[in-house]
């Protein structure tokens, strides 16, 4: 059991996909204009990651090496399309706010990266835990980033007003703010982890 908890914590903290592995930067920067957008994107990616990790670890031995990339991509794309159809049907608000970034989960390097480096070498149960860990780590990072940007830019967190919007530095909601916030958050995380040069 301890092994599974280690795998889980590994994704959440030690190998956090955003702050430590620095993977999946495109959706990280683009979708985090508010905390709720970051959270939705993180959970959507988490869902795809868990499903694809599970299926890939199950079929890893019946996939010849030379065709494993097309097979993995096909599986990932299927789950993303399923997710998009489900979102459009049952939570249209989320689908509307994430728009084009849902289909782009297919090419999120975190997912293929975990398939290659973890799921294709481990059993199904371990792969599920890795998916949950990395997925939640990604969701946590995106929510934190989105929360900081929303707070600094508009004075709100999850749409709850903390200070009047007029005092917000709008730049943090715009693309440059994403880079600045990400840089500072990564520096803080590195400080906490005790990384030296």
């Amino acid at each position: 059991m301890k092994r599974y908890i280690d795998i889980l914590l590994n994704g959440l903290v030690k190998e956090n996909p955003v702050f430590v592995l620095v993977l999946g930067m495109c959706p990280t920067l683009a979708t985090t204009s508010s905390a709720i957008n970051g959270l939705s994107m993180g959970l959507a990616t988490c869902f795809v990651l868990i499903c694809s990790n599970l299926v890939i670890s199950l079929i890893k031995n019946i996939t010849p090496d030379k065709v494993h990339i097309p097979v993995y991509i096909c599986i990932i794309a299927t789950f993303v399309t399923v997710l998009q159809m489900l979102l459009a049907a049952y939570v249209p608000e989320v689908n509307a706010s994430l728009g084009i970034f849902i289909p782009l989960i297919v090419v999120n390097c975190i997912i293929l990266g975990r398939a290659e480096s973890f799921a294709s070498k481990h059993g199904p149960l371990e792969s599920i835990f890795d998916g949950i860990g990395i997925g939640l780590g990604f969701a946590f990072a995106l929510t934190l980033l989105g929360g900081c940007r929303e707070f600094l830019g508009t004075g709100k967190i999850f749409d709850l007003t903390v200070f009047p919007e007029d005092f917000g530095a709008l730049m943090f909601v715009l693309p440059p703010g994403a880079f600045i916030t990400l840089g500072f958050l990564t520096a803080i995380v590195n400080k906490i982890r005790g990384v030296k040069n």
């Binding site: 031995n61 010849p64 097979v71 489900l86 249209p92 508009t154 709008l170």
Partner: protein, 215 residues
């Protein structure tokens, strides 16, 4: 279990099997979600029309389409529950600051603006995204009740009579362009009482003729 070797047969079988299984799964999910997605979209359109046509939830609509130059506009002829004409609601799309700006505008029979709602946009949060409220009744750029044939609905910077959103002139221009285009399409579409006529006149001069008529 040993990994399957890279023989041609193995690769073909695995790729084909993957394609069949994933294709089948997608077809299944599609068949399950097709209905709900359609309902969601129809409901969104209906709510939008009710909102821009004065808030009466019992309205009936007939869909028409008007082609001006190369743009096609969807025009909804709206009548109340007794069949009395209210006017037209028109969907129009222009290029905003961040992407397509899709606006639904409601006009009464004289062409006065009854209301508008933004169906889709990619404007900057905190700046252009304010368009959802800015031009509503009581907003700083109130356009409700104005008539594009009588009022010059462009931003004050361009000599018009609408206050642009602060620091978002491009969004304001795009929005007003969408409203003006919607008006042109509405003027060209069949009036709300006569829903069966398809108006697809494309020439620009007939647009002007209609605008004159509306005056």
């Amino acid at each position: 279990m040993k990994k399957l070797s890279n023989s041609l047969l193995n690769m073909t079988v695995v790729l084909t099997a993957t394609a069949i299984v994933t294709g089948g799964l997608l077809a299944f999910v599609n068949s399950v979600t097709e209905g709900p997605i359609k309902e969601v979209n129809e409901q969104a359109t209906k709510d939008g029309i009710v909102k821009v046509m004065g808030g009466n939830p019992n309205i009936k609509t007939k869909t028409d389409s008007v082609k001006i130059d190369d743009k096609t506009f969807v025009v909804y002829n709206v009548t109340d529950e007794n069949g009395n004409a209210i006017g037209n609601a028109v969907e129009s799309t222009t290029m905003g600051f961040g992407g397509d700006l899709k606006v639904l505008t409601g006009f009464d029979a004289e062409g006065n603006i009854l209301g508008y709602t933004i169906l889709g946009h990619a404007e900057t949060p905190g700046l252009g995204a304010k368009a959802t409220d800015w031009f509503q009744k009581g907003g700083k750029g109130d356009i409700i009740g104005k008539n594009p044939a009588k009022n010059n609905l462009t931003v004050s910077k361009d000599g018009g009579e609408v206050d642009a959103i602060t620091a978002s002139t491009i969004t304001s221009r795009a929005f007003l362009k969408a409203v003006n285009e919607a008006y042109t399409a509405s003027a060209q579409a069949a009036p709300a009482t006569d829903c069966n006529t398809q108006a697809t006149v494309a020439a620009a001069d007939s647009v002007n003729a209609n605008v004159e008529e509306a005056k």
